[in-house]
């Protein structure tokens, strides 16, 4: 199964995780793992998700998450896992 990494970076505020998770649930994207820290007031979250069940194109999800990020005031990226695997694993 090919996994996808969603990262959320920005100023901490109420409800970031809730908003992102609602979007994912609405689009049948399953969350496999979440890690999150706050560094100097900055919210930093990474989710590993499975997009196999969703009907939407990958490019559409990327754009919609981007737009959602703008709404909340954070930066949301959605990338296939391979780019990180390739770069950090031999």
């Amino acid at each position: 199964m090919k996994k996808t990494i969603i990262t959320v970076v920005g100023k901490d505020t109420v409800g970031i995780i809730a908003r992102v998770c609602t979007y994912l649930a609405d689009n049948r994207i399953n969350i496999l793992d979440i890690s999150q820290t706050i560094v100097q007031g900055f919210f930093n979250m990474m989710m590993i998700v499975d997009t196999n069940l969703t009907d939407k194109d990958f490019g559409v999800i990327v754009d919609e998450l981007n737009a959602l990020g703008k709404e909340i005031g954070v930066d949301i990226k959605c990338q296939k896992e391979e780019i990180f695997d390739q770069m950090h694993r031999i």
Binding site: T7, I48, K77, Q79
Partner: protein, 454 residues
């Protein structure tokens, strides 16, 4: 499993340090388009290019989205046109029709540049080669996307001095015909020694005759990433310095390998090579000269520059080689002047001269690239500069190139503006003593003794 810090590191590289894939270049063989009838060749060339490359741009954009990595250029390289059009062309004008066809095909599939308006003449010129070379100034001026290259020398064959001398005229003519655009046509023309068949970078990309029908070559970049990594090891010894460059080059190249494999899979076209290059852009922080400064030089061009560049070039290769299954092209650190803000600053400060640049080309990946010289220098002087660079490539068994911009109507200290990725270049002084009697001798310089390895 991938952790938060690794993900953050990759995304920082992309967002803040200008990590990108500089180009996906689709090489297309046009050998099957050869015909005695010019009209037919033109039709077949157009059809082959537009058919093979129809999904190239779309595929590049899909990959950009999936991995969140910018792919700056999608380009095409084709079989050297002197071979493709040789049987059908009776004049330079005939060859120009092929340049226009390449341009139309490139526009139709949405790529910004197409390379391969080229001739390989390292030992001698056929009539077709010479007609193509003589058509270059008008062909480049009549088209927007076509890039031209001429291989003038190789370690195995020596230097074709007749062709070198001719290119002195052609480069000047190319500058003159586009003098109203700051001689910008010269950006699309490069001459080589030991030109590689699989180079994905323009203006020198062409699809060699030893290549398959179609192939995907990828050029990576990332000077900003290397510079940022080196900022963290200031004051450390050379071992630490070299290890840091190697590790960074590995990471950058892995991204290129991934993109190349994905593009190959999606297009159903075999993967050729990854070109491990540090290719700068005029963007602040995306500079090879800045890396040299971070290594410890006040400006690129200061004493120590050649040594610093040699180690940089070598470590980039050592780190990159393991990251990709096939490495090729030019692979190393590019040192263009106009495309690198740090190099422009070094020239403006008086730290970097043409002679020092020439020394640097002995250890960098290519050669004298994107530098402006006064427009009134003799054609024989241009040929002399080319001959010097060809000799460096021939003797050192490496690729060298010359992409000069004789700035017509401009003098030392003025500048030429190209815009976008090409940047601007200050006009540099050239040694004023003559080499006319030397370059006018005619014939060729024999291959060096160490080329006889059989």
């Amino acid at each position: 499993m991938i952790n938060l810090f690794e993900v953050a590191e990759t995304n920082e590289m992309i967002a803040k340090e200008n990590l990108d894939v500089r180009t996906i270049t689709l090489g297309i063989s046009l050998l099957d388009c050869i015909d005695g009838d010019l009209k037919k060749v033109n039709e077949q060339v157009y059809e082959k290019i537009t058919k093979t490359a129809k999904d190239l741009v779309k595929t590049g954009e899909t990959i950009e989205k999936e991995f969140g990595i910018p792919i700056v250029n999608k380009r095409i390289s084709v079989t050297p046109m002197a071979l493709v059009g040789g049987a059908a062309s009776r004049s330079s004008e005939d060859f120009e029709t092929l340049a226009k066809t390449m341009d139309r095909a490139a526009q139709a599939v949405g790529v910004n540049l197409i390379g391969g308006y080229s001739a390989l003449v390292s030992k001698g010129m056929t009539k077709a080669d010479e007609m193509l070379i003589r058509s270059i100034p008008r062909a480049l001026h009549a088209t927007k996307r076509v890039c031209s290259s001429v291989n003038l020398a190789s370690t195995k064959t020596g230097i074709n001095m007749d062709a070198v001398r001719l290119m002195g005229d052609i480069i000047k003519e190319t500058a003159t015909i586009s003098k109203d655009q700051d001689s910008a046509d010269c950006m699309k023309l490069v001459v080589f020694c030991n030109a590689p068949d699989d180079n994905p970078f323009m203006a020198g990309a062409f699809h060699g005759v030893t290549e398959a029908d179609a192939v995907i070559n990828v050029g990576v970049s990332g000077p900003g990433v290397v510079k940022t990594a080196l900022q963290k090891v200031r004051g450390e010894d050379f071992e630490v310095l070299c290890e840091t460059i190697k590790k960074t080059a590995f990471k950058v190249t892995r991204v290129g390998q991934l993109v190349a494999q994905e593009a190959s899979r999606m297009l159903g076209i075999p993967f050729g090579i990854v070109d491990l290059s540090l290719a700068p852009t005029p963007a602040i922080g995306d500079s090879v000269a800045d890396i040299l400064c971070e290594i410890g030089l006040e400006y690129a061009g200061a004493p120590g520059t050649t040594a610093a560049l040699a180690l940089l070039n070598d470590q980039v290769k050592k780190g990159g080689v393991m990251a990709s299954s096939y490495v090729g092209g030019l692979s190393g650190a590019f040192i263009p002047v106009s495309e690198d803000q740090g190099m422009i600053d070094a020239v403006a400060a008086g730290a970097l001269t043409l002679e020092k640049l020439e020394a640097m080309t002995c250890v960098c990946s290519v050669g004298l690239d994107m530098l402006a010289v006064p427009g009134d220098i003799p054609n024989t002087t241009i040929a002399g500069i080319i001959a010097d660079e060809m000799a460096i490539g021939m003797v050192n068994q490496k690729t060298t190139a010359v992409r000069l911009i004789p700035a017509i109507g401009k003098a030392v200290g003025e500048k030429v503006e190209f815009g976008g990725l090409f940047g601007y270049a200050p006009v540099m002084p050239v040694n004023g003593f003559s080499c006319e009697a030397f370059v006018n001798r005619g014939g060729r310089i024999p291959a060096p003794i160490h080329s006889f390895k059989n």
